[in-house]
């Protein structure tokens, strides 16, 4: 079963534990500047929105890469950058419609979310459940459950007391 990162912005508090977990997992440093997931703070509305790669099936980044440095991880479905192949041309950063693959000055390569090989550090670190790692076919399950619960608290249809 493939899993997806599922993001619920309403739960996010902007603590950036996810960003630190991501940079620590990949570079052994606490450093939001090196995180592959970014939390945006929309001050005027009070909304915070975590954002990262959605692992497209027909991944623009992968198709754009001239040296085939982006591969599919068969187990997780993640589109993974092979650092030893990447030449830092940045074409993928132009190709991705969402901006979620980015250049890293320190390494001269690009980076993007690779789902941590199936154990996403951000989801593990998030204290509020704003990021979860769930069955890819059922990312809507929790929302469905909430609506179902609302129905459950209504008087049953056609039931006459």
């Amino acid at each position: 079963m493939q899993k997806s990162l599922h993001i619920d912005p309403a739960k996010c508090t902007g603590c950036l534990q996810c960003e630190m977990a991501c940079s620590y997992e990949n570079y052994q440093v606490f450093n939001p500047a090196k995180s592959r997931i970014k939390v945006f703070d929309f001050h005027h509305t009070g909304r915070k929105v975590p954002y990262t790669c959605t692992q497209c099936d027909e991944a623009w980044c992968l198709h754009a890469c001239p040296v085939e440095a982006i591969k599919v991880d068969a187990a997780t479905g993640a589109k993974v950058v092979l650092e030893n192949v990447c030449v830092g041309c940045k074409v993928c950063t132009i190709a991705c419609p969402f901006g979620t693959v980015n250049y890293v000055q320190d390494t001269g390569k690009v980076q993007k979310c690779d789902l941590c090989g199936g154990k996403p550090a951000c989801a593990e670190a998030c204290p509020t459940g704003a990021i979860t790692y769930v069955d890819a076919d059922w990312t809507g399950l929790e929302k469905m459950r909430q609506w179902a619960q609302k129905l459950d608290s209504q008087p049953a249809a056609g039931h006459a007391d």
Binding site: T13, G14, C15, L16, Q17, M20, A21, S23, Y24, Y27, Q28, V29, F30, N31, P32, A33, K34, H43, H44, T45, G46, R47, K48, A125, P127, T128
Partner: protein
């Protein structure tokens, strides 16, 4: 390691920025942030210095856990000699600025001298320079941040600095970062203004990658986060209600100072409480509270984000106040509300926005307005002087003064001096509800006896964040004590003061201590930092920091007389509630406290105590 091991010295007179290695032998004794900065400050600054002269210095300091995955590890402190008190001043702030400074590779910034013209400090990793702030001077903290982000074309720059209050000499001007987090108390922003330093803009992309034992650190911080999540206060109360969870509790126990401490209960408390912030408004059907928000790395998230009712008289035709911004926490809600008898939640929220925007401390401001209202009701101050009728309960007067105080306009110029100077000027010094010239926060020491001693002995003047015995006397953390008795409070206050000094020196938020003790902090420090950070040593470090601050105050000329409460709290008994008939029994607690501290009857550390802690009298 976790210290960046590097400090930035900024000479504002000469306009230079120089890197220096951090004195690691001092870090071993004073940990970081509050403690370590106090060590640097007391070693470099004459205690008798005029706080607003170029010879005073300001230190921005992070802790070893700032910028790490330890929960709440994003704090920084601002240390200086305070203009409101003439004592050591040390204010702590969250938000994101502190972590950004650390991630740029700096433990501290020492600001000295005075610039000939307004400047701001720009830091990008190792690079630091002073730049012209002519265009920023006079701007609010909000506009300053927006200007700097635009100027550097970098939305990720973090900014800490002063608003108009820090420029006009308001004696309780704050340092504000990330729009609505503040090193709020004791006028640390006033000192920045006196040096012509408007702001610090920092971008750090180096991160913190040098914790001593990463595996042990991840384990220790994960375990400590679980303690926070499982605790009723830090896991549920604070995220849902913020510190405002206390409003109704403290009012019911008759310890909510009301109308300049004339009363200890406020009939309007429910209207300005956490519950009121959650309730839909009659006008627009929306609640005042929009959401909660965390500071950097914080898994509690007590922060309040509020929106003011657009039809409220304070913001009609002022769309700049219609968006979401920093809402009321308990101390501000009390100072702007109960202290003045004002129960209009939207007006308090507006005053709170103005405090962040113009950069002043809502506690000292609100408490000073309380004194003004009392003087008005006594007929000492008149409408003609004030520019408005100012009886207790007037939301109009409160917000009128909130608009004036930062810019130093009208009677706001006098309110900007704090209640000690203001009440003295009008012949009623006894009506100033202060210790060492700093206004009380939101707990009446007639109903919570230990807080009287905590206030009287606080090194930075009246303050709840130096020894929060409310935790024990009200909430039963770590053990419940009777709030109405003085017995046992001397030891309690000392224990809280010393432990707090450690929290404030580590990079962590004090609010974790609703759930954590030093026993939860020690393993996190021990995994991150070289040296001995065992529980025993941490207790000693805390005591050492407290004593060093005290030495500074003694050398600055403060004496036992300054460890006192206003006569109202010692003579006028509480009129209602469970504490009815009680005054504060400070005189019963103070001698025992001095003794437990190893100080003589005048409150001076004995030779033996100095030897034990490795401190000395300062000159």
């Amino acid at each position: 390691m976790s210290w960046a091991r590097k400090i930035l010295r900024v000479d504002l007179t000469k306009g230079t920025c120089t890197a220096e290695p951090l004195k690691m032998d001092w870090a071993a004794l004073y940990l970081g942030q509050r403690g370590l900065a106090t060590k640097y400050f007391t070693a470099e600054v004459d205690p008798k210095v005029d706080p607003l002269s170029p010879a005073n210095k300001v230190i921005y300091a992070t802790g070893p856990l700032t910028g790490t995955m330890a929960s709440t590890g994003g704090r920084y402190s601002v240390i200086t000699k305070g203009p409101l008190t003439g004592a050591i001043a040390c204010s702590n702030s969250g938000g994101y600025f502190g972590a950004e400074l650390k991630m740029a590779g700096w433990d501290m910034i020492i600001l000295e001298g005075k610039s000939a013209r307004p400047v701001y400090l720009h830091i990008e990793n190792d690079h630091a320079e002073l730049l012209d702030a002519a265009e920023l001077w006079g701007k609010s903290t909000w506009d300053t941040e927006a200007w700097l982000k635009k100027h550097f074309q970098d939305p990720q720059v973090r900014v800490s600095g002063i608003g108009p209050a820090g420029e006009t000499g308001c004696l309780y001007a704050a340092v504000v970062n990330d729009l609505h987090r503040a090193a709020g108390r004791s006028g640390v922003g006033t000192v920045l203004g006196s040096k012509n330093l408007k702001a610090i803009a920092v971008r750090g992309t180096k991160g913190v990658g040098n914790v001593k034992d990463p595996a042990a650190f991840m384990k220790a911080t994960a375990a400590a986060k679980k303690v926070l999540a499982d605790n009723a206060v830090t896991g549920q109360g604070l995220p849902k209600f913020g510190t405002q969870v206390l409003m109704n509790v403290i009012n019911e126990m008759g310890a909510l100072p009301t109308r300049n401490h004339r009363d200890v209960q406020f009939d309007g408390a429910k209207d300005i409480s956490a519950e009121a912030m959650h309730a839909p408004r009659k006008t627009d059907g929306k609640p005042n509270l929009v959401t909660n928000q965390a500071c950097f790395g914080c898994t509690i998230a007590c922060g309040r984000i509020s929106k003011i009712d657009e039809s409220h008289f304070t913001v009609v035709n002022k769309p700049q106040y219609w968006g979401a911004s920093g809402g009321l926490e308990y101390e501000a809600a009390w100072a702007l509300g109960a202290a003045n008898g004002v129960n209009d939640l939207e007006a308090l929220t507006y005053a709170n926005f103005r405090a962040n925007e113009d950069g002043w401390d809502p506690i000292s401001f609100g408490a000073t307005v309380g004194a003004v209202m009392e003087l008005y009701e006594m007929g000492v101050l008149k409408k003609e002087q004030l520019g408005i009728e100012a009886p207790f309960g007037s939301a109009q007067a409160l917000t009128f003064f909130a608009d004036q105080v930062g810019k130093g306009e009208g009677f706001g110029k006098e309110i900007a001096l704090g209640s000690k100077r203001l009440t003295a000027k009008y012949g009623h010094p006894d009506l100033s509800m202060t210790v060492k010239g700093q206004e009380f926060p939101a707990y009446d020491s007639r109903g919570i006896q230990g807080m009287g001693l905590a206030y009287a002995t606080s090194n930075r003047g009246a303050c709840h964040l130096r020894g929060y015995t409310v935790a024990s006397e009200v909430l039963g953390i770590p053990v419940k004590t009777d709030p109405h008795v003085t017995e046992g409070k001397a030891g309690l206050v000392k224990a809280f003061q010393d432990a707090t000094a450690v929290f404030d020196s580590s990079g962590l938020c004090l609010f974790t201590s609703f759930a954590w003790t030093l026993q939860d902090v020690a393993p996190q420090l021990q995994a991150a930092c070289e040296g001995d950070w065992s529980l025993d040593n941490l207790n000693l470090v805390g005591e050492r920091i407290w004593n060093l601050e005290k030495e500074f105050n003694l050398a600055a000329g403060l004496t036992k007389k300054d460890d006192d409460l206003p006569p109202r709290l010692k003579k006028e008994a509480a009129k209602t509630g469970p504490a009815k008939g009680l005054v504060n029994g400070l005189d019963k607690m103070l001698p025992e406290y001095y003794q437990l501290r190893g100080w003589n009857a005048e409150g001076v550390p004995t030779a033996e105590t100095r030897k034990r802690l490795g401190t000395a009298a300062l000159k």
